[in-house]
């Protein structure tokens, strides 16, 4: 069964309450043919376990790595992925779009 957004955010809450460090990554802007619309989210815990998606799978690996940083530092980050990115061939979007992803820690005061 595909995870709905409801399940993803519930998992974030459950992980946090179980004592995990948790980050929430959300697509906030898209240009061109982005694979997932604004509001799509990915939650990541400090094990590197994740649920949901911010793209069709193209950039999730990079987002998870950044999310682990955000969990450690507590400071939110804005990430941008797209063909204009130098690393396009590594973690760009094959569909040619650009997305901005906001990554924040869950449970920051």
């Amino acid at each position: 069964m595909l995870n709905r957004d409801e399940d993803i955010l519930q998992a974030a809450e459950n992980w946090q309450k179980a004592g995990h460090g948790v980050a929430l990554a959300t697509v906030v802007e898209t240009w061109g043919s982005a694979p997932r619309p604004a509001g799509s989210s990915l939650v990541i815990n400090d094990d590197g376990t994740f649920l949901g998606s911010v793209s069709g799978g193209c950039v999730e690996g990079a987002v998870v790595t950044e999310a682990l940083d955000v969990i450690a530092s507590g400071k939110p980050k804005m990430l941008e992925f797209g063909v204009a990115d130098e690393t396009a061939w590594n973690v760009g979007l094959s569909c040619g779009g650009t997305i901005r992803v906001f990554v924040e820690k869950v449970g920051q005061s």
Partner: protein, 238 residues
Amino acid sequence: MKLETLAQVNVERAARRPVIVITDTANGEQRLVKATDIATDPLSAELSKQLRMGKSGMIESGGKKLFLNVYAPTARLVIVGAVHISQALAPLARSLDYDVTVVDPRTAFASPERFPDVPLIAEWPDVALPPLNIDHYTAFVAVTHDPKIDDPALLHAFERDCFYIGALGSRKTHAKRAERLKAQGASDADIARIHAPIGLSIGAVSPSEIAVSIMAEITAELRLPKEGEKQTAKVQAA
């Protein structure tokens, strides 16, 4: 995101109440706006527009870039009548991301063979409908063509805040239905909520085409601004 904010989002969503989280992307500052508080919010015009479209997005306000994350409940479609049209309507609605439920007390109609993978309730409307908690994010259609089933179903829908009510039948059939419903206590305002004849006028003939016309009408009702809202938006833009 603060844990309280996340927990509140989850509570609102579980209760099928829309909620919007506003994030200042420069510093991560956040606030949550419940649907009931949108009207009095300083950003009410933007918030109500995004909510109606069910769309999240960035806006600029007071020199700040704000991300509005809209959590709208999944739209539902309650179909009263497990008839031929419903066999086309249920899968079409599901492909449009509606949660679909079919109600029909006639077990010969409400059979899993005719409706694979669709939740079916083979009960009369007075038993089947109250537990469904029909809310603002629900579209309601009565398509049995049988007053014994359609009428009590429509009377139930009048008591609820569903965003769409449609009933199958010609103008003539609908006029008779309106009389019957009024005799049972429905008001003119109740009757005016019914879309009948059901569906957009696209010359639909087959059950599948009628299903398309019904879903097109439901989509319009869900997404197009209401008359009052259009005026407010214009005044604010001026």
